[in-house]
C-alpha cells in the first residue's frame, strides 16, 4: 500500500464508511438477510404476512413465515452461541451437538414420562425444572468429556467429538430402553410451542434469554478476551497467566449447556423423540452459522452477533426453499450453492480484497484530479 492509499482508508470519510461497512463482520449476514428479504418481496410479498388467529387451544397466536423463521431458528441460534466460543478457543468445531441433543432430549423424557397427566401445576413445574436441570448436568458432563479430550489430550476437536457423534444416538436410545415415548400432558408442549394466552412461540423467548445471558457474560467477564487469546496463541496466553486448558474445557461446557436447552426445546415441540433423526445434521448448520458470521473457523477473534445472525439466515433460506416448493431432490443443491456464495463472500480474504479494490480506485481518481 502506498502512503496515499493508507491516508485514504483512514482519512476520507465517505470511502472510510464503505470500507468499514464491508469489513464489518455483520455485513455479510445482514446483506444475505436483506437479499433473501428482497427476493421474497419480489417473488411473493405475501411471504411476510403475519396474522393473529386462534389456535386449537383457543388462544390467539401469531402465525406467518416470519414467525416460523424466528421460531424454528431458535435452536440453531442457541447452538451458534456455544459453537462460536468453542471455535474461538479451540480452533475447531464440535460435530457431536446433534447426537448430544438426542441425549439431552432423551434425559428430559426419561424424567417426565414417569408422571401421570393429572398432577397439579406446581408439581408439574417442579418436575420440569428437575428434568431441565438434570438434562443440563448431563449435557455439561458430555461437553466436559469432549472438552477434556481436546484440552488435556490435545486431540483435534473434530476427531474428539467424532466419538460422541457416533455413540450419542445409541446412548440416547439406551437411556429410554429404545422406547417410543410420547408425553400426553399438554403442558409439556408449552416450551416448544406456545404458552397459554401468549401469541409468540416460547422458543423465541428462550433464545432471546440465552442471547441476553451471553451478552451479559461477554460484557462483565473476561470470557471473550480469554478465549480469543487462547485461540490466537495458546502458549503466549499461558505465559500471560491464562490457563488454555481451563478455557477450552469451559467453552465446551458452555456448548453443553446450549445443547441441553436445544434438546429441551426439541422434545417439547413434538412431545416425543425419534433417536435416529432428532436434530439431524444440526451440527453442520451450527458450524455454518459460525462461518456465515465471518468468523475464522481456525479460532481466535469472533463476533457473536454475526454468528447468531448467521443462524437466522440459514433458517430464512430453508423456509424460503420450502415456500417455493423446490423439489425434494434439488433442495440440498440449492442450499449448497447459496451457502458457497455466502461463505466465499464472508471469507476475511475476500472482504479485504473488496476494500482494497475500492481504495485503489479512489486513489487513482485522486491522483488524476491532482494531475
Amino acid at each position: 500500500m502506498t502512503t496515499s492509499e493508507n491516508e485514504l482508508s483512514s482519512g476520507n470519510s465517505a470511502k472510510g464508511f464503505f470500507s468499514k461497512l464491508v469489513s464489518n463482520q455483520l455485513f455479510i449476514p445482514l446483506a444475505a438477510l436483506l437479499l433473501l428479504v428482497i427476493f421474497n418481496l419480489i417473488a411473493d410479498p405475501t411471504f411476510f404476512k403475519i396474522s393473529l388467529e386462534p389456535s386449537s387451544t383457543g388462544y390467539f397466536i401469531l402465525s406467518g413465515n416470519l414467525i416460523s423463521i424466528i421460531d424454528n431458528a431458535s435452536e440453531l441460534a442457541i447452538l451458534a452461541i456455544g459453537m462460536t466460543l468453542v471455535t474461538s478457543a479451540s480452533g475447531g468445531q464440535d460435530i457431536s451437538v446433534g447426537s448430544a441433543i438426542a441425549i439431552a432430549g432423551s434425559v428430559v423424557l426419561r424424567v417426565v414420562k414417569g408422571y401421570s397427566d393429572g398432577i397439579s401445576g406446581g408439581e408439574f413445574a417442579g418436575i420440569m425444572i428437575g428434568a431441565f436441570l438434570l438434562c443440563v448436568a448431563v449435557s455439561a458432563l458430555f461437553g466436559a468429556f469432549n472438552g477434556a479430550l481436546v484440552a488435556y489430550f490435545k486431540i483435534q476437536p473434530m476427531v474428539a467429538t467424532l466419538i460422541l457423534f457416533t455413540a450419542g444416538r445409541s446412548i440416547a436410545a439406551w437411556i429410554n430402553n429404545n422406547e417410543n415415548i410420547s408425553i400426553n400432558d399438554m403442558r409439556f408442549g408449552y416450551f416448544g410451542n406456545f404458552l397459554p394466552a401468549i401469541p409468540i412461540p416460547t422458543p423465541v423467548f428462550i433464545s432471546a434469554l440465552c442471547m441476553i445471558i451471553i451478552a451479559v457474560v461477554l460484557k462483565v467477564t473476561n470470557l471473550r478476551l480469554y478465549s480469543q487469546a487462547v485461540g490466537i496463541n495458546a502458549s503466549s496466553s499461558r505465559l500471560n497467566g491464562i490457563n488454555p486448558k481451563t478455557i477450552k474445557l469451559l467453552t465446551f461446557i458452555i456448548l453443553g449447556v446450549c445443547v441441553a436447552v436445544c434438546g429441551f426445546i426439541k422434545v417439547s415441540r413434538t412431545s416425543s423423540i425419534t433417536y435416529a433423526v432428532i436434530a439431524n445434521n444440526i451440527e453442520m448448520d451450527a458450524i455454518l452459522a459460525v462461518a456465515l458470521g465471518g468468523n475464522n473457523l481456525g479460532g481466535g477473534k469472533f463476533n457473536m452477533t454475526a454468528s447468531i445472525l448467521g443462524a437466522y439466515v440459514i433458517q430464512f433460506l430453508t423456509t424460503t426453499l420450502y415456500k417455493f416448493k423446490v423439489s425434494s431432490s434439488a433442495i440440498s443443491a440449492y442450499k449448497a450453492v447459496v451457502v458457497i456464495l455466502l461463505i466465499i463472500m464472508s471469507a476475511p480474504i475476500v472482504r479485504k480484497w473488496i476494500t482494497d479494490q475500492k481504495n485503489k480506485r479512489a486513489a487513482a481518481r485522486l491522483r488524476k484530479e491532482a494531475a
Binding site: 389456535s55 415441540r269 413434538t270 416448493k325
Partner: protein
C-alpha cells in the same frame, strides 16, 4: 514394554485360533436334522436404534432364534455395508449354518456370498434385497413398498372426495420405502384430473422437518385436504403444525392424515379418530425365516402380507397385535 505387547498379541492369536479350531470341530454342517443339535445362525442387521421398525424387527429376531427353538444365534449390527460384509466373512469363518442378512446397501455382496456358498452356508435375506445372482441365496423375505403405497392410494381413492389436494411428505430420497410409497401416489396424481399435489418435499423421516414443511404451506395460505406422509413420525409432525394453526384433521374432519409403519402410538391415533389411515410395513420376518430353515424354501422371493388400517374399522386388538 515391546515384549509385553508381543506376548499379548501372540497369546491373543493363539486363543483366537484355538477358538476357531473348536468351532470347526464343534459344529457339523447342516446339522438341522439332529434333535438336540442347535442350528447356528449369524444374523446381520441394521442398528436397532435406527427406527421403531428396526427395533421391532430385532426384538422379533431375538424372540424367535432362541435356544428353546433350537437355534444358536449371533448378532451383528451396523448401518454400514462394508462393516456388514466384514461381519459376514467372520460368520463364515465361524462356520455358521445359516447367514441371515438385512443389507445396508445393495451392492458388493457377491464375493462374500460366493464364499458362503462354497462353505455350504445357506443365506437368507430379509427386509432388504441386494444386487446379486439369485442362486447365491436361498430366499429373500421382503416388504413390497410399492404395494404398500398402492394400498394407501387406493384407500384414499375410495374416500371419493370431489377434489384431492395433497401435501406429500417424503422420506429420505432414494430409500426403497420412499421410492415405493412416492411412486404409487405420483402415478395416481398423474392419472386423475381431480388429484393435485400442493407440495412435495422430503422431511428425511424427521418430524420436526415435516412440521416445518406443513407450516410453510399453511403460512402461504394454500388449501389442502390430504396429508400423505411416508412414515408415522412425519405424519405426527405434520399434525402438530395443523394443530397449531387450528386446522381440523381425522375422521370426518377437514384434512385426511395418512401415515406408514404402524407404530402403536400411531394406531392409537387412528382409534381416537385423529388420523385416517396407516399402512403397515411388516417387521416380523423371523417366523417366515424359521419356516424356511425348518421346512425349506418354496420360492425365492417371499413377499410378506401387509395390512392397511382404516380409522373407522380399526380395533383395540389391532393396536396391540400389529403396533410396533
Amino acid at each position: 514394554m515391546k515384549k509385553l505387547v508381543k506376548l499379548l498379541v501372540s497369546s491373543l492369536l493363539v486363543a483366537a485360533m484355538a477358538i476357531g479350531v473348536c468351532a470347526c470341530a464343534g459344529s457339523g454342517k447342516g446339522g438341522n436334522g439332529g434333535g438336540n443339535k442347535l442350528i447356528k445362525v449369524g444374523i446381520i442387521n441394521n442398528d436397532p436404534n435406527e427406527s421403531g421398525y428396526r427395533t421391532a424387527n430385532d426384538k422379533d429376531m431375538k424372540a424367535t432364534f432362541t435356544e428353546a427353538n433350537g437355534y444358536e444365534a449371533s448378532f451383528y449390527y451396523s448401518l454400514k455395508n462394508e462393516e456388514q460384509i466384514a461381519a459376514a466373512q467372520k460368520f463364515i469363518q465361524d462356520d455358521v449354518d445359516y447367514l441371515l442378512i438385512s443389507a445396508a446397501g445393495t451392492s458388493g455382496w457377491d464375493g462374500v456370498l460366493e464364499q458362503a456358498k462354497k462353505a455350504g452356508i445357506k443365506v437368507i435375506l430379509f427386509d432388504r434385497t441386494i444386487d446379486a445372482s439369485e442362486d447365491l441365496y436361498e430366499a429373500s423375505i421382503v416388504s413390497d413398498m410399492a404395494k404398500e403405497g398402492e394400498q394407501a392410494v387406493s384407500w384414499l381413492a375410495s374416500q371419493n372426495l370431489p377434489e384431492y389436494k395433497i401435501v406429500h411428505i417424503q422420506g429420505v430420497m432414494g430409500s426403497s420405502a420412499q421410492i415405493g410409497r412416492s411412486g404409487a401416489l405420483d402415478t395416481k396424481v398423474a392419472a386423475e384430473s381431480n388429484w393435485s399435489i400442493v407440495t412435495q418435499q422430503t422431511a428425511e423421516w424427521s418430524e420436526e422437518t415435516a412440521q416445518q414443511i406443513v407450516q410453510a404451506v399453511i403460512d402461504s395460505g394454500e388449501s389442502f385436504n390430504v396429508i400423505y406422509a411416508e412414515n408415522d413420525n412425519m405424519a405426527k409432525g405434520a399434525v402438530a403444525a395443523l394443530d397449531k394453526a387450528n386446522i381440523s384433521h381425522g375422521v370426518g374432519k377437514d384434512v385426511i392424515i395418512i401415515g406408514f409403519d404402524c407404530n402403536s402410538w400411531a394406531l392409537q391415533e387412528l382409534v381416537d379418530g385423529n388420523w385416517n389411515y396407516d399402512g403397515q410395513c411388516n417387521p416380523f420376518q423371523a417366523s417366515y425365516i424359521d419356516d424356511i430353515i425348518k421346512n425349506g424354501a418354496k420360492q425365492k422371493v417371499v413377499i410378506m402380507e401387509e395390512k392397511g388400517f382404516d380409522a373407522t374399522t380399526i380395533t383395540a386388538d389391532d393396536v396391540t397385535k400389529y403396533g410396533i
